[in-house]
Amino acid sequence: MNYYPKPMSKLIKELSKLPGIGPKTAQRLAFYLFESSRDEVLKLASAMVEAKESLKFCDLCGHLTQDSPCQLCRDQSRDQQTLCVVEEPKDVIALEKTREFRGKYHVLHGALSPLEGIGPEDLTISKLLQRLQTGEIREVILACDPDMEGEATALYLARIIKPMQIKVTRLARGLPIGGDLEYIDEVTLSKAIEGRQEI
C-alpha cells in the first residue's frame, strides 16, 4: 500500500495531522518541500521549533506571548476597567485588528461544551474570577463565539459575574455588513431583531 520511500511517507503523515490538511494537500506540500532548497526547509523547521519553544501563555490573561505578563497586560495606556473575555488567543488578535477595543483581555482557552463534557474547571474561569475580585474591573464584555458552546459559556459567566456588581455585556449578534436581508438565515435575523437599536 505504500508507494513512497519511508522519509516521504513519514513527512506526508506528519503534515496531514495539521488542521485543514487532507492527504492530498499533505502530499503536495511534501513534494514542495522536497523541491525547495535546503536553506528554505531549514528556515521553516527552525521557525516552527523557535515558535514552539519561545511562546507561552501570559500568566495574567492567557494570551500567547514571549514574556509574561504580555504586552497587552503591561500597557498602562489601555483602559484598565474593561475586560473582554474571549475563547482563544486568535480571538484577541481578531479584536485587536479592529482597533476598536482598548481594554484588557482574558482568554478562556476553550468554551463550555455540554456535549463534550467540558465544564468550568477545564477553562481559565477561576483565574478570571480572581482578576475580577480586585474590584478594578467595571465591565466585562463576553466575546464568545455565536455557537452553542459560546452561548453556554456566556450564560454561565453572566450568571456568576453579575452578582459581583460588575456590568456584563456581550457582543451583538446580527447581520453581516453588506449582506442582503433576504439571504440571511432565520436564526441570525431573529437575533438581529432582538438586538435592534434606536437610531
Binding site: P19, G20, L112, S113, P114, L115, E116, G117, I118, G119, P120, D147, M148, E151, A152, L155, Y156, R159, P176, G179, Y183, D185, E186, V187, T188, S190
Partner: protein, 250 residues
C-alpha cells in the same frame, strides 16, 4: 446516490475542516444520519442557522460516494430557547447524547422521532425540567427494550415484595429475600420513589413538571437512572457530567 429529502432534528454538530460542520441528524424517514454541511461555519452561509444544535429542519441531502452532503436546509423550528437557557441546554444535550449513543445509524424509528420532538417542545416551555427528563429517560429505555423492572422483583419475579433497592446488573428492583440470598450492588431507592418511577412511566410528559418533587427525591431517582443508563450504554456520558455540575447535587 442522488438527492433525498428528509426532516429531522440536529443531535450534534461538530467542526470539520476550515469552515465545514459534520452534523448528525435524527430524521423521521431515515433514522440517524450524518452529513457534511459545507461552509456552515461561515457567517454568510445559508446553512448557519439551520445547522445549530437542536434545530428541527427540512433537509435536502446529497448522497455521494463519501459522506452525505447537506445541500439545502430549511428551519421548521429553531428551538432557540434550548440554546438560550443553560439548564435547558444541558438537558437537551443529555437527550441528544442518549439518542446518539443508543440509536444505530440509518435505522428508521419514527416513534422515537415523534417522542423526541414532543419532548423538546415540552422542554422548551417548562421551568423545572427534572421530572420531564426522568419521564423522557424511562420512556426512551422502554423504546430500547431496556425497561427497568419495577412492578416485581427483577430476580425472582414475585410481585408482592419488600424492595431492597435497585440493581443495574439485574435490570430492576430486587426483593429483600433475594438480596439476603445473594447480595448484589444496589442503588438506593425508597418506597415512595419507587412509586414515583412507576407513575412517571404512565404520565403525560406535558404535565409531570407540575408534580411536587423534593430535592432528595430528585437526586435519588436521577442518580438511579443515570447509573442504569450508563451501565446499559457501557460508557460514561459526557453531557451528564456537565448537567450534574450545573445541578449542584453534591
Amino acid at each position: 446516490m442522488g438527492l433525498y429529502r428528509s426532516e429531522g432534528i440536529i443531535l450534534r454538530s461538530r467542526v470539520f475542516g476550515e469552515a465545514d460542520k459534520i452534523i448528525t441528524i435524527f430524521t423521521k424517514e431515515k433514522g440517524k444520519i450524518e452529513a457534511v454541511a459545507r461552509g456552515a461555519r461561515r457567517p454568510r452561509s445559508r446553512l448557519v442557522g439551520a445547522t445549530q444544535q437542536f434545530t428541527y429542519l427540512k433537509a435536502l441531502v446529497f448522497e455521494g460516494k463519501g459522506l452525505d452532503q447537506l445541500s439545502q436546509a430549511e428551519i421548521v423550528r429553531s428551538f432557540a430557547v434550548l440554546r438560550d437557557d443553560l439548564i435547558k441546554m444541558a438537558y437537551a444535550s443529555w437527550w441528544s447524547e442518549l439518542l446518539d449513543v443508543f440509536l444505530p445509524l440509518e435505522e428508521v424509528n419514527s416513534d422515537v422521532f415523534l417522542f423526541y420532538l414532543a419532548g423538546l417542545l415540552v422542554l422548551e416551555k417548562v421551568q423545572e425540567p427534572a421530572l420531564v427528563s426522568r419521564a423522557f429517560e424511562l420512556r426512551f429505555l422502554k423504546y430500547l427494550g431496556y425497561e427497568p423492572v419495577l412492578d416485581s422483583c427483577a430476580r425472582c419475579g414475585r410481585d408482592s415484595f419488600v424492595s431492597a433497592g435497585f440493581s443495574s446488573e439485574e435490570g430492576g428492583v430486587i426483593c429483600q429475600r433475594c438480596y439476603q440470598d445473594k447480595p448484589v450492588k444496589l442503588i438506593p431507592l425508597s418506597g415512595s420513589n419507587l412509586q414515583l418511577l412507576k407513575e412517571l412511566y404512565q404520565a403525560d410528559l406535558r404535565i409531570v413538571h407540575r408534580w411536587d418533587l423534593d430535592l432528595a427525591s430528585e437526586i435519588e431517582i436521577g442518580r438511579l437512572l443515570f447509573a442504569f443508563i450508563e451501565y446499559r450504554a457501557d460508557k460514561p456520558f459526557k453531557s451528564l457530567s456537565f448537567l450534574q455540575s450545573l445541578l449542584c447535587w453534591e
